[in-house]
Point group: C2
Chain length 337, copies 2
């Protein structure tokens, strides 16, 4: 249920090459803004943000912003792309709040506790900085269009960012509950992952004429992305995902593979997730994989990608944009396949 | 070093009565927006946000927004006031991330760990919601002035919110360091407390003509507020502050009273803050109080309030606003005196 992996998947490279005349230049602009956003608070952020810049390495979301904005994307779209990535980075950092908790003599070590405090503050800084990106320069001598656009973009990003937090809360609420329904799971995915993809597909555009289709496109590939991520948590390969199998299980996060598998292997519905350790979690992964659950979820992701491409076909955008966005959609399900 | 207490100080009541013809109505509007912001995510936020709405009970910051905006303040100022309070609430919630960490058998209990996760997400939600407040309604059929104003307000709030996070990081960085300088301490107070007061004093105004003076006014009373807060952490009374004496010490946060006291009682510079418990922390508070440190810091806060009022005298604002803001300034140092 973590919408991010450490390995660089192929789609970014494929798309960069296909749009080599304009996309790498714009992506370079985003990278420059991200580096600037982080280095402006160098002393405060220290190594944390540098590491996070690396960790968010795929840059899938800013790429979507720029692809949807098109070859003529200007400074506002580049800033919007940077803002979306900063929100994503903030969630990565806040997810990490929970990962480092060494305990000594029944109390958190000072190191662990200041690590957690730092991570909370670093995430807050990145989240605040994201909104600053959207209005940077707009408050001095701004023109009507830019000002209106900035307000619209702030509203879009805030909506996505609120949804992310709600998704995280829903996931917490459902933790260790083996009886959650597929619908509830999908609702969580919508909030936690799909809404930011949706936002990425519209926030960089000046013309709202294709917003409805592009938002739906973003939503579907966002869901496909999350479905596949949850498959990879069960299937590995560990050397590609960069994390142990069953991380979600250990976290109490019940995802669709397990929800489907419990219908085929009712013993799975009786598990005590709280008692799992790394090796028993891997064994549960094997039991899930022994059912047809992973294939079913993979098929579901594939169907969403197909739907996304059909929606794209109807969107009033350039043929080149359509083609590039299709590549991204394909790339989402081709990870590690 | 926590810029918030649980008791309601007099200034809010005094000012509400002095401006009874217009302020209570506008403050009611803020309260309505805050309740709306929280209840819109009722299921997700549950009791957490309701408790936080209570905890931030003073509403000093939104009151500053409205006093500076004046009797004719409209919907945009009310939304700005709500946004500032939501940022403040987000920091309260994220501060709480660290307060609940019961440990069982060398591991955090599920309750504690999901408490921390929830608090992180709730804070993120409130922070995102703050920015949404500023552009609410502006993206549909907005006019130039409102749009330009919204962009300006987003930039102001983002700057303050980034500063808050930087201040928190600086405080973490300095934790348990008994050698930090008064300047470094003041810089932390500027970031962690004064910048949001500063923002509150300008973010609700349409006319930027008095921004410089009002920002300086906000900065000085913000610093005075923090200085006094740090005195109260040492002096109590516990029944008024709502927390044990020496909370900052136990947290490793070295504040001005200790920085000054260590010059008079050099033994204080040799303390091992990490080994303190509640009763030895109270004893350190007594040692600090036995020097002239608390009087010196109180005097410093008083001088800042006087400076704030001199700055106010030069600000191009209405006489009534000047008078009400002076009452707020006085109230800041009159807490529990």
């Amino acid at each position: 249920m973590t919408p991010h992996g450490s390995a660089v998947p192929p789609p970014v490279t494929v798309v960069m090459e296909a749009a080599e005349l304009w996309l790498p230049r714009l992506m370079g602009g985003v990278e420059q803004r991200l580096t600037g956003a982080v280095s402006a608070h160098g002393e405060a952020l220290g190594g944390d943000a540098g590491a996070t810049l690396e960790a968010g390495g795929k840059r899938l979301r800013p790429m979507l912003v720029l692809l949807c904005a098109g070859p003529d994307a200007g400074a506002a779209a580049i800033r919007a792309a940077s803002a979306v990535e900063l929100v994503h980075m903030a969630t990565l950092v806040h997810d990490d709040v929970l990962d480092e908790a060494p305990i000594r003599r029944g109390r958190p070590t000072v190191l662990a506790s200041s690590g957690r405090e730092r991570a909370t503050a670093v995430g807050d800084l990145l989240l605040s900085r994201a909104f600053a990106e959207l209005v940077d320069g707009d408050h001095a001598g701004a023109e009507l269009d830019r000002a209106l656009g900035a307000g619209r973009r702030v509203a879009m990003l805030a909506t996505a960012s609120v949804a992310l937090a709600r998704g995280e809360l829903a996931q917490r609420h459902d933790a260790f509950d083996l009886s959650i329904s597929p619908d509830r799971y999908l609702e969580r995915c919508r909030l936690k992952t799909a809404r930011l993809f949706e936002c990425a597909c519209v926030i960089g555009r000046d013309d709202p004429g294709a917003d409805q289709e592009l938002a739906a496109f973003g939503r579907e590939i966002g869901l496909a992305f999350q479905l596949l991520d949850d498959v990879l948590d069960v299937s590995g390969p560990v050397d590609r995902t960069g994390k142990a199998r069953g991380t979600d299980l250990l976290d109490g996060t019940v995802t669709l593979p397990l929800i489907i598998a419990r219908e085929h292997d009712p013993g799975l519905a009786q598990l005590d997730l709280r008692s799992l350790d790394e090796s028993s979690a891997a064994a549960v992964c094997d039991r899930i994989a022994a059912t047809s659950a992973l294939e079913q979820v993979r098929d579901g992701a594939q169907r969403r990608v197909e739907l996304a491409k059909r929606i794209l076909a109807k969107a009033p955008i350039d043929a080149e944009q359509r083609e590039l966005l299709s590549l991204v959609a394909d790339g989402v399900v081709e990870r590690y396949s």
